[in-house]
């Protein structure tokens, strides 16, 4: 079968080792990098459809993003001797001129679950978002300080533990106090999903990683230049 299709399938199925060697073969045959990146992207799209319908399969998505990251880091980045961000710039330059959005992401203070958030960060990076990952147990001040300093479009906050939910509502309050209402706050994770944007005092609650990704990429939001 067409090798690009094969690469896409391998990524979907989380076959990281085979995906890397498939990508290496393609590069050896002078396949343009944009095509490889598109094949990875297509793989993720199929996975996205599968996930939203059959319930988000975290392990499958994790394995697919690992495969994708390894292809990019071990293959393409090695070729370019650059990091993923530079690749994103190249990728971006070969696409239509799309301004890059910035996302500050983290797990709320008191909570140390960050696996889902880590997947979101990887997917967003792959889709040309500039992602600053603050990790876990992140205070409201840290979120807001970083978002302002980095001129972020979004703050993404994750929570699995219901007891930590009340802190999430303080983020928008702090942004308002500092006159930065335009920064959009998105919540996700098992605890946030049980609540609502009104109760959490956020702009959106994402069902899963792909839903959050869609929101960050969607056209209805203004993009800052």
């Amino acid at each position: 079968m067409d090798q690009l299709k094969e690469l896409s399938l391998l990524v979907q199925h989380g076959e990281n080792v085979q995906a890397v060697s498939c990508a290496e073969k393609l590069l050896a045959q002078s396949c343009p990098m944009e095509d490889i990146v598109k094949a990875l992207s297509d793989g993720l799209e199929v996975l996205r459809n599968k996930c939203t319908i059959e319930n988000f399969q975290l392990l499958d998505v994790l394995l697919a993003t690992r495969a994708m990251v390894e292809v990019v880091d071990e293959c393409l980045a090695r070729k370019l001797q650059n990091e993923l961000d530079n690749l994103a710039t190249t990728h971006e330059a070969t696409q239509s001129a799309e301004p890059t959005r910035t996302l500050v992401i983290g797990t709320i203070q008191g909570d140390i679950h960050d696996l889902g958030k880590h997947i979101v960060a990887t997917l967003c990076r792959f889709k040309n978002l500039r992602v600053i990952n603050l990790g876990k147990d992140v205070s409201v001040e840290q979120f807001v300080d970083t978002a302002i300093a980095e001129n972020a479009d979004f703050i993404g906050v994750s929570s699995l533990m219901t007891v930590c939910l009340s802190r999430i509502s303080e983020i928008k309050n702090e942004l308002a106090r500092r006159g930065r209402n335009e920064i959009t706050v998105v919540a996700g994770g098992g605890a946030a999903q049980q609540s609502s944007p009104d109760r959490l005092n956020v702009d959106y609650v994402a069902h899963d990683a792909f839903d959050g990704l869609d929101y960050f990429l969607s056209d209805i939001l203004p993009v800052k230049s």
Binding site: N49, N55, Q57, L58, M161, V163, C164, G190
Partner: protein
């Protein structure tokens, strides 16, 4: 009765005074009592105090000797961080790779980490439980592993180094088993295993089955071995409906299910386990007592009859939740237990019969049997004989009130049970106001249908009392007398409230306990094979299930199967394999989903089997041993690999082969008491269409190509999501669609029946023009496609739309159909107006409104009042065939005398109307 007895009674199918209430109250007990969480998790005495106080305040029936999820990991050597007002967490993992496993030792529960505190809590609670169930808590092996390892690393290890991961799981299982032993020794009444890392949100079902299922079963079985009356309890958060093995295969006495799981689904798969749950935990934190109360009442309504339910939360109640929200659960349970629905008004000379647990009361004449009163009162009782006391399936308990004296047959059947208030409902007559308890085994619970029940006609199709009653599979012969071992331990010890003695939770579930035996009619002609399960004794329909048909399983469709088999002999072998697999799946499904033991299934009667036509076999080739052909009243016999004792009969016997509507027509006609004289037409709208006209004893059949409009899910959706498809849709004048899915959830796509409804509405309101192009700028139209459901409202976040090519296919279908109708009517010299009855069968025939079929041009306007939808005619006929030899013979005769007008679709039927 006290709380422990109440919970044990629910587990043991016994009677309770009210539904048990057991929300998962862990550290929230500390915040209720004003203690700091950081103090609670560290001290067994604080745990015990807070648990008891919180249980007193909230009215919970259970006490949880539980701190947090890190106890075992800490005892293994992990360092934990203890915030003042939150659960502790592990600072850093101690297992970075497989080689670290060697460094770990099995912790001693009496001395390591905080394990001794849990044991202390168990001892203190056991001493002073006030009759409440004391549950000691441990975590499952994979949850433990995800604490001692970085969870991401763990997930990669599962896939990259499964054998090494398995060793880590084995080690964790050992830790858990040892801890569980110590907990039991300390005096716990039950063991609750928390296993959040086994959640389907994290682990695909295949991983759970491969790595965690057996360890959990062993841990729970080990607990039972140590103490048979211990309650085993398993709790996994997340959408467990995507991994029902957690409910049905683990086999705990109680399983907590989380809020995303529809309770009906949980009950369907519950089998032997009692379900606990499943109110959304955040509601207790953010909501109001009346919101909790309302949700609780809804759940209790849904489970009133099955009673395999303990009210609670889907996962642990969040810290800081106000006590008043939790108290609403007990209020709901109390109120629900005391609500009685009165069916009719009191009248002079009538007495009141109240039935429990249905909580329904009806005024009846004195002298009526309990069984009759129960049927009238909406509390049906099982019975399999002609109400003479022979089957003894209708045992009930008279709690108080006056009934006729025990007669001889009852005495013989019930033996000493009669002294405990046990009576046979068919013989005992009501003589004054009475209260009757109908035990689980005598209760007729409404069907737990699996696959789309609405598509299939659930009415019984055989009258077990008629002379025509001749079951293909004879029922099992049973002893008429009930032995004390079966019912006695529960009925004998009943006090006035009818409390059942605990049984240790080892009683088998409904399907096995009743003496019923079952016969299954299988229609495997289409892409989906459908199995209908009937109780042989009463001929009553019980369950329906839908499976991937063998034709679809080998990647073909029903139109091409004949040609492909002729051209490609290996396909026959594959079909045979897939058919055998289907039969085995059906029996497994009956066990897993309905607790019907395989030995209770007497046989499968299969129609539409693609192997039934052996005219395409090369001459001289004999069928292989698996599919031996035996003449048996027009039936051939197949065999099953997993269940060699189970009979599988194919009907009709080859070389007769029912195809399409000729079969459906045959079945409908066969079900009529006498051949209908009036002209009747059968239209089968399935993936291929066919039309049959019956007139003056003669039959004509005609096929037309219809195209596959059966399912139009969003690309990528697999078969298992049938329940998420829209089966009924209406479009109003504003272009707004209202729709129904089978399970009431956000949809994933459209079924053809919904397409018909939507298209008819679109046509009526001018959203599509005559040619089928989408118009209407005011209607929700995107890129010339009419948006039926916008993406935000679908489960797959893709919009569901109808465009020109869909309308085009529909119009080709209507054109073909109307052409075929006129051809067939010509052949019998009838005009459309002369047709008296029209039967529309096939999944496509299940449209909400016949006017839609007329609007689109499938059928002429003059048939408006004459249409009867028979839905799955093939299935109906197969079910009839289970019980009536007359129906079997007639159907074969009718089918053989069908004269086909045309087998091949002609080119002219490709024209649009």
């Amino acid at each position: 009765m006290n709380s422990t007895e109440r919970i044990q009674a629910v587990i043991g199918f016994g009677r309770v005074d009210r539904p048990p209430v057991a929300p998962e109250l862990i550290a929230v007990t500390a915040t209720i009592c004003g203690a700091a969480v950081g103090d609670y998790v560290k001290d067994g005495a604080v745990i015990a105090q807070c648990q008891m106080e919180a249980a007193r305040i909230t009215g919970s029936d259970a006490l949880f000797a539980a701190a947090d999820l890190c106890v075992e990991a800490e005892a293994l050597g992990c360092e934990a961080h203890f915030p003042r007002n939150n659960y502790p967490h592990i600072k850093s993992p101690i297992v970075h790779s497989y080689s670290d496993l060697k460094q770990l030792r099995l912790p001693d529960p009496t001395s390591d980490g905080r394990m001794p505190q849990i044991l202390k809590a168990v001892r203190l609670l056991a001493d002073d439980s006030d009759g409440r169930l004391v549950l000691g808590n441990a975590v499952g092996p994979i949850t433990m592993a995800s604490r001692i390892m970085d969870i991401e690393k763990m997930l990669y290890m599962i896939v990259d180094q499964p054998d090494k991961f398995r060793e880590i799981i084995e080690f964790c299982e050992g830790v858990a088993s040892r801890f569980v032993d110590a907990i039991l020794e300390a005096g716990a009444d039950g063991i609750l295993i928390f296993d959040p890392s086994a959640s389907p949100a994290l682990l695909p079902p295949r991983i759970f089955r491969e790595f965690e299922l057996e360890p959990i079963r062993r841990i729970l079985a080990g607990a039972k071995q140590k103490n048979p009356s211990v309650v085993t309890w398993y709790s996994v958060a997340g959408p467990v409906q995507t991994n029902t093995a957690i409910i049905s295969a683990v086999g705990a006495d109680v399983t907590t299910v989380d809020y995303p799981v529809p309770l009906q689904t949980a009950m369907e798969y519950s089998g032997h386990t009692v379900i606990n749950g499943n109110i959304r935990p955040a509601l207790f934190l953010e909501g109001t007592p009346s919101q909790v109360y309302d949700e609780a009442m809804t759940l209790l309504d849904q489970t009133r009859l099955s009673e395999r339910f303990i009210l609670g939360s889907g996962c642990e109640i969040p810290i800081n939740s106000p006590a008043r929200n939790i108290m609403a659960l007990r209020r709901a349970a109390n109120d629900h237990a005391s609500q009685i629905t009165q069916i009719n008004e009191p009248a002079a000379g009538k007495v009141r019969a109240t039935f429990h647990p249905h909580n329904r009361a009806i005024y009846v004449e004195t002298g009526q049997t309990i069984l009759e009163a129960a049927a009238m009162g909406g509390a049906p009782i099982t019975t399999y004989c002609d109400l003479t006391g022979v089957c003894a399936e209708c045992v009930v308990t008279v709690c108080n009130g006056k009934v006729s004296a025990l007669d001889m047959i009852e005495e013989a059947q019930l033996g000493s049970l009669g002294e405990g208030g046990g009576r046979l409902a068919c013989l005992a007559k009501i003589q004054g106001d009475v209260e009757i308890y109908v035990p689980f085994s005598s209760r007729r619970i409404p069907d737990k249908a699996c696959a789309p029940a609405q598509l299939f006609d659930e009415s019984t199709c055989a009258d077990s009392h008629s002379s025509d009653f001749d079951p293909v599979f004879p029922p099992m012969r049973e002893k008429a007398r009930i032995s004390a071992a079966d019912h006695g331990s529960r009925l004998l010890h009943q006090d006035n409230l009818g409390a059942g003695a605990p049984c240790g939770g080892n009683l088998p579930c409904h399907g096995a306990m009743s003496r019923s035996s079952f016969a299954v009619a299988v229609d495997m002609s289409g892409e989906n094979a459908v199995a209908y399960v009937h109780d042989i004794g009463s001929a009553e329909f019980r369950h329906a299930g839908s499976f991937l048909g063998p034709v679809a399983a080998v990647g073909l469709n029903s139109a091409e199967i004949d040609t492909r088999r002729a051209l490609d002999p290996p396909i026959s072998r594959k079909l045979r394999e897939e058919s055998t697999r289907l039969f085995n799946s059906i029996v497994n499904w009956l066990y897993e989903s309905h607790s019907i033991m395989p030995e209770r299934v007497r046989g499968l009667l299969v129609t539409g089997c693609p192997m039934a036509d052996d005219t395409l076999r090369p001459p001289g080739e004999s069928l292989p041993g698996e599919w031996a052909q035996i003449t048996c009243g027009g039936i051939a016999e197949a065999r099953m690999s997993d269940y060699p004792g189970l009979k599988v009969l194919m009907w009709p016997k080859p070389p007769h082969r029912f195809g399409g509507a000729s079969r459906d027509a045959a079945f409908i006609l066969a079900t009529m008491p006498s051949p209908a004289a009036e002209p009747a037409l059968f239209i089968h709208l399935g993936s291929s269409g066919s039309i049959t006209a019956h007139y003056q004893g003669r039959y004509y059949t005609h096929r037309f190509p219809f195209g596959n409009l059966l399912e139009r899910p969003i690309p990528g959706v697999s078969r298992g999501f049938f329940n998420f498809l829209i089966h009924e849709a209406q479009v109003d004048g504003r272009g707004v669609t209202s729709f129904k899915t089978f399970n009431g959830s956000a949809p994933l796509g459209l079924l053809g029946t919904a397409m018909v409804g939507a298209a008819a509405g679109m046509k009526r309101h001018g959203i599509i023009d005559d040619k089928g192009f989408v118009q209407g700028k005011w209607a929700p139209v995107v890129e010339n496609r009419f948006v039926v459901v916008p993406k935000q409202k679908t489960a797959g976040y893709s919009p569901i739309t109808i465009g020109w090519e869909d309308i085009d296919k529909l119009m080709i279908g209507t054109g073909a159909c109307s052409r075929a109708v006129s051809d067939v009517l010509d052949a019998v010299h009838l005009s459309p107006e002369q047709v008296e009855r029209v039967f529309v069968s096939g999944p496509f025939g299940v449209v909400a409104d016949p006017a839609d079929l007329i609007e689109l041009g499938f059928i002429p306007d003059s048939w408006k009042g004459k249409i009867q939808f028979v839905k799955n005619a093939a299935g109906l006929g197969a079910r009839k065939a289970l019980f009536s030899s007359r129906a079997r013979k007639r159907a074969v005769v009718i089918a053989s005398s069908m004269a086909p007008l045309s087998q091949a679709p002609g080119a002219r039927y490709g024209e649009s109307k």
